[in-house]
Amino acid sequence: MSTLTAAPREFRQPTLRPLVLIEARRFVRHPAFMVGLTACVVFTAMTAPKAGPDANSGFLAAFFIGVFSLVVTYRQTRSTRSSREALDASPTSVTRRVAAMCIVCLVPAGFGVLWLASFYVTQQIWPLEPWMHGSFSRADEFAILFGQSVVACLGGPIAGMAAARWLRFRGAVLVLVVGTVGVVALGLTDSDSGAPMNIRLLTPFTFFTSNNINPASEDSLPGSPWWYLAWLLTLCAFGVIAALLRGAEPPLVRQLKVAGTVGLVVALSCGMLGLTGGLDQAMRIFPDGHSIVRPVR
C-alpha cells in the first residue's frame, strides 16, 4: 500500500516571485517604456539648467514614465489573452498573475523615486529663490512632487492594467491616454474662464503652483497637497482592486467588494478634504516676498 503525502508547499502554491521577475523583465524591455524613460531623462536634463527645477517639473516623469507605462501594462496584460486557455490550465490562477502585474507596477514607481531624488540633487545645484516655493512649506512641496512623480508613475501602470482587465474594445488604450490627459488639462483650466476649476483636485495629476513670467511672480493654487496625495493613493488602491476583481474566485470577490466599498468612503473623504483643505484662494507671491490674493481676470 502506498502512502500519499502532501505535496511540498512550493508545488501546491506557486510563488509570485518567478512570475514577478518574468513580467518585470518584459516590462523593462518593452520599447514604449524604454522610449518614455529615455525621453524623461533627456527632457529633464534639457530643462534643468535652462529654467532650474521647480515644483511643476513632475509632469515630465508623470507623462513619460507614468503614461508610457500605462500603455506598456495595458499591452502586457492584454498579451496573455490570446493564450488564455493554456494559461487557465496552468497551476497559477488569474488572480495571482494579476497580483504579479500589480507588483511589477512598482518598477516604474522606482524610476519615479529616482526622478524625485534627481530633482532634489539638481535643486542643490540650481537652488530656487525662497519666493519661488510659493506659499507652500518644504513638506508640502515634497507631497506635491511625490504625487506628481512617484504616485503618477505607480498609478499610470495600475490604470493600464485595470483597463486591460475590463475594457475589451480596440483603441481602449488610446481613449484611456487621451481621456487622462484631457481630464488633467480640463482640471488645470483657469477657473476665471468659465470651466470647472474644482475638478483640478479630483484628477490624477495637477499643479499647485504656476509661474508668471511677466510680471515675475509665483501663484500658489488652492487645495491641500497632503490630502490630494492621499486621494491619489486611494485611486491607486482602487485600480488594484478593480484589476483583481475581474475573474477572481468567489471568496475573494466578496473581500474585494468590501475593500472597494471601504476604499470608496476613504477616497471620497480624502477628495473632499483635498478640496476644502490648504489654501482657500490662490495667492500670488512676488520676488520681494510680499503676497496678494491672486486677482480675478
Partner: protein, 205 residues
C-alpha cells in the same frame, strides 16, 4: 467594393473618432477656456490614431492572392479616413463659428485659424496612414501598434515641445510662429504622401 468596405475596421476608427468628437464637444462648450488649446491638439491626436486603424487587414494572407493590387485596396480603404476628417473639419469650423458669436470675444488663441488647423489635421491623418502603410508591409493589422506609437508621440509633443526654440508644432493663436509651422506640416504631408505611395506598391512592381 462593398466587401472591402465590410473589411474596414470600423469599430476602432469609430472609437477614436468618437473620442475626438467628445473633446470637440467640450471645447465647443467652453471655447474661451484654457482647455480649448490642449483640447484641440488632443483632437488632432485622436484623428491621427483613427487614421492608423484604416489599413488593418487581418485577412491579408487571403486578400493578397486576389487579383486586385495593394494600392487599389488601399485607395478604397481611404474611405475610412473620411469619418475622422469630417468630424475634425466640421468640429473646427463649428468652434470657429461659435467663437465668432461668443460674447466673451475669442478664445485663448484669438480667432481660430481654421485653415492652419486643417493643414495640421491633414498632416496628422497622413502621418497615421503612412505609418500604418509602412508597418503593414511587416504585419497585416498594424492599427493597434501604429495608433499607439503615433498617438503617444503626438501627445508627447502636445505636452512638451522639445523644439520650441525653433518651431511651434501645433500653433493655434495668431501670435504663434505660423510660418515655420506651415512649412513643417507641409513637409510632413509631402513626406507622408510619398511614404504612402511607396509603401502601397505591390511587391512585384
Amino acid at each position: 467594393m462593398p466587401i472591402l468596405l465590410t473589411a474596414l475596421p470600423w469599430r476602432p476608427v469609430a472609437t477614436a473618432s468618437i473620442a475626438a468628437l467628445c473633446l470637440l464637444s467640450v471645447v465647443a462648450i467652453w471655447p474661451e477656456s484654457g482647455f480649448a488649446d490642449v483640447g484641440i491638439k488632443l483632437v488632432l491626436v485622436c484623428l491621427a490614431a483613427a487614421a492608423a486603424f484604416v489599413l488593418d487587414e487581418p485577412a491579408a494572407a487571403a486578400v493578397d492572392s486576389a487579383p486586385r493590387t495593394l494600392r487599389a485596396r488601399t485607395v478604397i480603404r481611404l474611405i475610412g479616413v473620411a469619418i475622422p476628417a469630417t468630424i475634425g473639419a466640421g468640429g473646427f469650423m463649428a468652434i470657429a463659428a461659435r467663437l465668432d458669436s461668443s460674447p466673451y470675444g475669442h478664445g485663448p488663441f484669438g480667432e481660430l485659424p481654421v485653415g492652419g488647423l486643417l493643414l495640421q489635421m491633414a498632416g496628422c491623418l497622413l502621418l497615421g496612414l503612412a505609418t500604418a502603410a509602412f508597418a503593414r508591409r511587416f504585419i497585416p493589422d498594424p492599427g493597434d501598434l501604429v495608433s499607439g506609437v503615433v498617438a503617444g508621440g503626438l501627445t508627447a509633443l502636445v505636452i512638451y515641445n522639445p523644439f520650441s526654440r525653433w518651431v511651434d508644432i501645433f500653433p493655434l493663436s495668431p501670435g504663434d510662429r505660423w510660418s515655420r509651422a506651415v512649412v513643417l506640416w507641409t513637409i510632413v504631408c509631402l513626406l507622408c504622401a510619398v511614404t504612402l505611395t511607396r509603401a502601397t506598391r505591390d511587391p512585384l512592381d
